[in-house]
Symmetry: C2
């Protein structure tokens, strides 16, 4: 019996704490298993009664007869621990725990959860939950859940599986999908992920022959490296994975119990992370439900130019509402007649002509996908423009549909034919944008980076050390010298900059610890004296004055969720005020760094904007790639690092200010 | 018989071109009028047959018997003109023209349409269309349309009316609304708006006792001033108006046949315009359908601080998906327990406790609205968390709901109770954001602005004239003098700037027509000579060199769609690269200008950011208000005007570069 079998296809399930009151939540698993025709043995366990909803019940797991593959635990308090002990002694390989009061309820609960899982591991019992709403396998008729959604009649079988950090969303996806004919295979609510987490479930689904597409609803990422591995395994198995992740706003992120972001913003880091592991990130919840047929059997388009979609329509206004959104996402339209961005067949085409128009576009090299928009006829006259879509010759290039009216029968018709169909112009455009942004998992450069021997391995580096670290990675750094107390001798030519040398001062300008453009020795002595008044006894870092065509910021962070991230942004106040930066999982190649630089709007001033002189963006790319190699330092010692600014010149670039914080 | 009666409640309708083939589009109006129980007389007009679908038909309008209030014209080609003639001679006050081939099909059709409407005016016939899908009055059982949506059984009566520039969208809104219990009153497809346009229809609906909320689907704005008046009339009548307008992207704008925008971007100008006329602009199509109950009976909240919404939920994940979006829109959450942004009642509250939680929050001064999020129970157990919403004590503060599952019965239950309910987290957040951004129509300052006598009234002003115009409005301008050919004498102290004086040079820097920081007379002579090589014989504008803490751009445009608009943005390249500007309908007061300035991110550097010196933003606001008074010049002579840059100092501000283009 494999883990997947015990989880999704148990021959017998024990329902620990099954209620005899049909109206109670804890009566639902028994009711639902029966209702949906579970063929295995159902073993209610109830300390207080010998019968539950007409089924013989047992006072404890220990006393229940026969081999049991999966225990569903609903009892409160300490009885959970007792049930896990009994699972261990009986050899029940998987326990799903619905009971709450563990990590979901504070520090004490979290400690209790750690003890529980440690004991389960020792006993050889795998745990889903606690606080899991359960597991559903639609084709296998396993409705092992308390989610009310299973009150529905016969949900449709399909090949889309779903893993959710929200128990409610299991019901949402199943219910909304069923209402429009979208079928599902396996649905799992992971709860607190004390043992079985999202990553391991994705791995199981990647290996599951009944699953073609994997959907994820995430509140957070608990093990970024493991999920990245699982996503790559899914890609290798030809199973696209789409993810909806909470945390677009700080408010949402706070609610999803995630960590707060630094300048980079965790959501932008997650965007980079999902893209790098080959996952499709959708923006709208509706898109998560609707996108599976668009992905099933397809591979990442890996486009390096804007996508072009041909829009065929029987309604101008309906098409425009999608095209408008596609434009916002940078997607272009394609039409054989260049006078209009769409192919308008309003009341002009027979069904056969309509199918032919779709076939011609699907065969045309001019577009990357075809979208059919259907107006009011989709609701009452599907023969006019919906059925012709089903008859189109489909291939690798996606054919999708958007219906303007309420047209669930037509949506179901397309769902049954495997044609992606969308309810709203927004989710339609979101799905197409997500599809065309989809990339194969990135092959990251290997190798390693040396840690300079004379640098400390903990705490914060002072600026001279930080510059030395960046230089060791290959970043050109400003000519500098340490002028030591009390004489502050140095051999640099004027003008120079002088900075108090201390790892403790984070914001030198605010702390009065920087002087720029010092013209001569007398001025130098004056400025040093002034700084010493606030920072007595400190050495000074003296630097040659540098200037460039524009300033850039290059940053590195070992993100607690997704690991090493590199950032490049417009310098000065722009990165911060306008959030004008690009991120990638580190390390990156020079070419990848250049692609990041292309996304930074403020660098327009170095790309020939308004005839301004061009900057050496290749030198900037080299610096970004060099900084990103901090991810290759053994032990990933650096927590955060930043060059701000890196002066970009017409020829070359130079780091003039550096900050590095090591891990504790 | 008023226009509204003839349009929406005709006692008899003539169907010109009614087909006897029930499968044809032109048979639909007759079928639909019968199906939905129209009580008036139906008069089919068909040149080829004496009977249509069992109804006596007449060969021409002229021959049809009895008084007819409204003719619906479906015949092709020249017969439309003939039908209008007959409407005139018979005294039929309103003709709705479904036939296309007019302004919808190019210049020739547009000319034909102008002739048609001129003739209709002369005859006293009001025209809806051409290219109109028709008119529906649900409570009045008038289904005078070819839109297939009327195949539906008994759409629900309500108090929401809808005016659409897309015929398809009439069906979309009615069909999607009906599927979830939202009722409608009047729905109108305006087609080409050759005579009866959106503005006049909004005015009619503002005066319509059966209408409480007005919805608009717009592809363009054809008469901005008239729509603004109509929107104000609707506001005065206590009827909120919500609008969905295509054109968020250039692609969508192109498709919607609108004009291309200048720097300001027409969509941003439309945002300002809709807000100023007191309309609610929604972002998503679904929101347009769902928002009416949120607006009905309410007035603009006119908040001057971020809105606070209390979110009560039975599902953490479901609530988070809305809260995340609310956060993106800058809406805050409110909860009595400050440890969580939401009020989570998951499986803990009885229905009575749930209602009480809602009542307490609705009564609390801590929040501006309450949102109830309901999970899987909304589908099968409405008694748990849906019915308690209906029982809450509602008042001026909105109470809205979002259901995570497919739960149309629960949506209908709330619709029937007048509680706004949403299908997706995105439309829910969009609706709340639009509601809280809603403002009463702005009272614009009256008055007038003088046109300096010595300035031309047409064409483009040269820079000296442009600066004089701005100075006349009260903008401080740089000290300037014209140095005339051939001696180029001037009395300004050095350093100075020198510019070729010519109304023809739009981009002086690119044209080599500017020199800055000229230190003395010898350098001045040299620079002037160099500029004269490219611009022979020109006079020079000599200006004192000015500097400031930051640069701003102040612009004015008489927008072809929405009229005079004033813009303030970050100077230099920032406004353009980052689209960092704020817009308002002109004129604005100094206080309103300050509110605009608050929205420009780049001005952070003058608001004390990182301890940088503060700029005189009040002086900037005075300049913005002054420039906006161009809208008060008799004849609104100015097409476009711009100060770029306006130098903002620690004390005061000064315009150093000016451009003004007058109308032709």
């Amino acid at each position: 019996m494999t883990l997947a079998q015990a989880l999704f296809a148990p021959r017998a399930v024990a329902l620990v704490g099954a209620s005899g009151d049909a109206g109670k939540n804890s009566a639902r698993p028994l009711r639902f298993l029966r209702k949906h025709g579970y063929a295995g043995r159902i073993v209610p366990v109830n300390a207080a009664r010998a019968e539950v909803l007409g089924e013989r019940a047992w006072p404890s797991l220990a006393e229940a007869p026969g081999e049991i593959d999966h225990a569903f635990i609903m009892t409160p308090g300490d009885s959970v621990e007792r049930a896990i002990e009994e699972c261990g002694s009986r050899g029940i390989p998987v326990a799903t725990i619905f009971s709450d009061g563990f990590a979901d309820s504070g520090a004490e609960g979290a400690a209790r959860e750690r003890r529980l899982v440690a004991r389960a591991r020792a006993l050889g019992v795998r745990v889903l939950g606690p606080n899991s709403m359960g597991v559903v396998d639609v084709p296998g008729r396993l409705a092992l859940t308390v989610n009310a959604v299973l009150e529905m009649d016969g949900p449709q079988s399909g090949t889309t599986s779903f893993v959710s950090q929200s128990g409610t969303m299991l019901g949402t996806v199943l219910s909304r999908g069923a209402a429009r004919g979208l079928g599902f295979s396996k649905l799992v609510s992971v709860g607190n992920e004390s043992d079985l987490g999202v990553a391991e479930l994705v791995e199981l689904l990647a290996a599951d022959p009944a699953t073609r597409v994997i959907l994820l609803f995430l509140e957070t990422v608990r093990d970024g490296a493991a999920l990245a591995r699982a996503a790559r395994a899914a890609h290798a198995a030809g199973k696209p994975a789409a993810v909806y992740k909470l945390g677009r706003s700080r408010l949402g992120a706070a609610l999803a119990r995630s960590h707060t972001g630094a300048l980079a913003g965790e959501d932008a880091a997650l965007d980079a992370y999902f893209r790098d592991c080959g996952m499709v990130r959708v923006d709208q919840l509706e898109t998560l439900i609707e996108i599976a047929p668009l992905l099933a059997g397809r591979t990442p388009p890996d486009l390096s130019r804007p996508a072009r979609v041909a829009v065929v329509t029987t309604t101008g206004g309906g098409a425009a509402s999608v095209v408008d959104r596609l434009g916002v996402s940078g997607i272009e339209t394609f039409a054989p007649d260049a006078r209009s961005p769409i192919v308008d067949l309003t009341m002009k085409a027979t069904p056969a002509q309509y199918t032919k128009a779709l076939d011609d576009l699907l065969a045309s090299p001019g577009c990357d996908g075809v979208l059919a928009v259907v107006g009011s006829s989709a609701q009452f006259h599907p023969q006019l423009a919906v059925e012709p879509i089903v008859r189109a010759k489909r291939g690798a290039k996606p054919l999708a549909a958007f219906f303007t009216p309420h047209a669930e029968a037509s949506l179901a018709l397309l769902a049954n034919s495997g044609v992606p169909a969308f309810r709203t112009p927004e989710s339609c455009a979101d799905a197409l944008a997500a599809f065309f942004a989809w990339r194969a998992p990135r092959k990251t450069a290997g190798g390693s980076a040396e840690w300079p021997r004379d640098l400390p391995k903990r705490g914060r580096l002072d600026e001279a050390q930080a510059l030395r670290l960046f230089a060791s990675l290959g970043v050109p750094v400003v000519e500098s010298e340490i002028a030591r107390s009390p004489a502050y001798e140095h051999a640099l030519a004027y003008p120079v900059a002088a900075k108090v040398l201390s790892p403790e001062i984070a914001h030198k300008t605010e702390a009065g610890a920087v002087r720029l453009d010092i013209p001569n020795r007398a001025a130098f002595d004056r400025e040093v004296k002034a700084m010493l008044a606030r920072h007595p006894g400190r050495d000074m870092l003296v630097q040659k004055m540098e200037s460039g065509l524009a300033e850039a910021i290059v940053g590195y962070r070992d993100d607690p969720l997704v690991g090493p991230i590199v950032l490049v942004g417009a310098g000065g106040v722009l990165a911060e005020i306008y959030r004008d930066f690009a991120l990638s999982v580190a390390p990156v190649s020079e070419e990848e760094a250049m692609a990041m630089i292309d996304k930074v709007k403020g660098f327009a001033v170095m790309r020939g904007y308004r005839n301004l002189p061009r900057g050496d963006l290749q030198a900037l790319a080299r610096a970004v790639a060099a900084v990103s190699r901090l991810a290759l330092v053994a032990g990933r010692r650096v927590a955060e690092a930043e060059i701000n600014p890196l002066m970009v010149k017409g020829d070359g670039a130079v780091a003039v200010d550096a900050f590095v914080a090591l891990k504790e």
